[in-house]
Amino acid sequence: MRGFVLNSALAACLAGVLAGCAATRPQRSTRLADSDLTQAVLSMRQQLADSRFLQERDDASPEARLVLRRVENLSSDRIPIAEQWSLASRVISDPGMQALLRSKRVVVQLPPEKVALLERGGMEFPDLSPEHEPTNLLEAQIASGTRAGSLAGGRDADIRKDYYLLTFVLEDLQGREVLWQGTAELAREAQGSLVD
C-alpha cells in the first residue's frame, strides 16, 4: 500500500514537471519588443506605398521635399531617442520605398536635429536655400493604454495588457493639410505581480 502511494506521488510529480515543461511560459513584460516595432514598420511602409498621396503622384509632379521627425512617445514604455529616430527612418529607408519615392519626385531631407548633431560632430552643411525648404512633414506618435486585472480573482493585479497605437501623419506644411495617416495597433499581455 505504501509503495503504491509512493509510486503515485512520484508519478504525479513527474506529470507536473512534464506539464510545466510543455506549457508555454507566460510573458513577463508588456514592454514593446523589437519584433513588434518591425511588424509595425512593415505595415506602415505598405500603407504609405498604397497611399493616395503617392498613388496620385508621378515623375512629372512638382518636387515634394519631405522631412522626418522622430516618433513622439506618448506610451507608458520608455523608448530611447535612437529608437524613436530609427522607427521613423525605417519606414522610408527601405530600398523599395526609396525607389518608389524617387519615381514620384519625393525627396527626403535630413531632419534639422540630425543636421545639428552631425555639425557638432564636425560635418558641415550649407544653409538650405528657399527652394530646398521642406514642403511636407512626416511625423509619428506612439501612444498606449493599460488594463490590469486579477487572474486569480484576488485584490492584486497579476495580469496586465498594454495596447499600443503607432500613428504616422504626412502633412503639407503650407496648407496644414493631412495628406496621409497610417496606423498600426499592437498589444502585449504579461502575467505576474508587478510590485513583487
Partner: protein, 437 residues
Amino acid sequence: MLALVGTGLMLGACSSHYQADARVLGLVSRAEFGRAREVLYTQTPPTGKLTDLLDATKKGMLALADGLPDAAESDFEVVFDTLRTQGLNADRTTESIFVNEQGTRIWKGEPFEQAMAYMAIAEADASRGDWGNARASAENALFHLRDYSATSGDDIRYTSVESTFALGYLIHGVAALEMQRREEAEESLAKAAASRPELGPLTRTLLDGAYDTILVIDYGLGPRREAVGDGGVGVAYFPRTQSDDAEARVEAGGRGWGYPLACDVNAMSRDERWQSLESIRRFKQGLGQAMMLGGAVLASTGGTRGDDDVARLAAGVGLLALGAIAQANSQADTRHNELLPQRVYVAAFDLDGWQGPVRVAIDGHPGGRMTLHGLASRARRARVPVCAPARRERVVGGCTGDLVRQRCLRAARDADAALGAWRPGCPLSHAPGCAGL
C-alpha cells in the same frame, strides 16, 4: 537526519544582513559623486543582469547626481526593464522559505523604492529634454498602492487605491506641459496639489508658464532598513537624515524663491501603503512556527513499537528540522537603496536672462547649500550636500542635471504650431533666433 539538521544550521549561519557602504554614503553626503561612483563601480562591475537591479539603481542615481544623465542611461535601462518585469520572484517564494530570502529573491525594492527609481529615470530623461520618456517613467511611478486601513488584528485587509505620490504627479505634469498636453498636465498637477496642498502655488506657477527653469533638489540620505523583532523576521526603516518641513531656497540675481517639500522618503518608508513584503514576512514566520509545532507533535507520538513508528519519528524530526531551517532563515531581507535622498523639492522659477550663479539652500541646514553655474544653458539636477562645511559655500560647477527648460522652448512651441516659421538652418524644435541652443 543529522545532515538535514546540519544543513539547516549551516543555512542559518549563512544568512547575513545587507551592509550599506559607509564610504559611499560619506562621499554622497559631501556631494562627491564622482568619487562615490568610482568606489561603486570598482566594487561591483556591471553585468547587465536583472539581478543587478539594486547596483544598477545606485549607479544610475549617482551618475545623475554627478551631472551625467547620459552615463546613467545603460543602468537606468536595466532598472526600467527589471521594474517592468512582472512576477520576477514568482518562482522563488517557496525556495526563499527554506533558504534565506536575501540569497534567493531578486531585489526589486519596496514600492517606494521602485517609485523613486522610476523618478530618477524620469529626471534623467527630462535633463536631456526627452519629455516623452520622462512622462513614461513618471507614469510608471504612479502605480496603485495598497490601503491596509481596513485591517483589524491579524485579519489583514486592503484595497487598491490611487497613488498619492506628489513628486510623480509633478514631474508627469511638467512633462505633459512640455509636450503640449495641457489637460493631462492640469489633471496631474491637480493630483499633486491634492496630495500635498502646500504644492498648490508651485502647480499654479507651472500651469501659468511663469518659469523658464525647473530644478529638482535632492537632500539628505534615505532611511536605513533593519531587521527587527524576535529572530529578526520583521523589518523597519530608521531615518539617516531626520525629516522636517524646511523649505528649499533658491536665489539668483538678487531674487529668491521658497519651495515646500515634494517628497519625504522617510515618511514613505513608514507608510504601509508603500510596503509590499510585510505580508510575506508574516506568512513565513507563521509557516515556520507551524512546522515546528507539527514536527514536535509527530516526534512525541512516535516510539519503539515497530517500523511504522520509527518512520513516523523520523518524519517528525525531519519536519522539525525543516521548521528550524525556515525559522533560522526567514530573517528579514535588509537590502535597500541607501542612496535615495531623504527629501526632494521641485523648484520652478524664471531666471529672466540671469547668467550668473544660482544658489540653493535648505532652511535650517547650514551644510545644505550648493551653488550652480551655467544653469541657463545646461540641464541640471541638484543633490545638495548634507555635511558641507557651514562657512564654506560649496561650489559645484558641473554637478548634476536639473530639469532646465530652455527659455526658447515656449517660442519653439509657437514655431511648432505654425511650421511656416521654419527657417533654413534652424532646427524644427527651436524657434527662429534660437539656433545653436
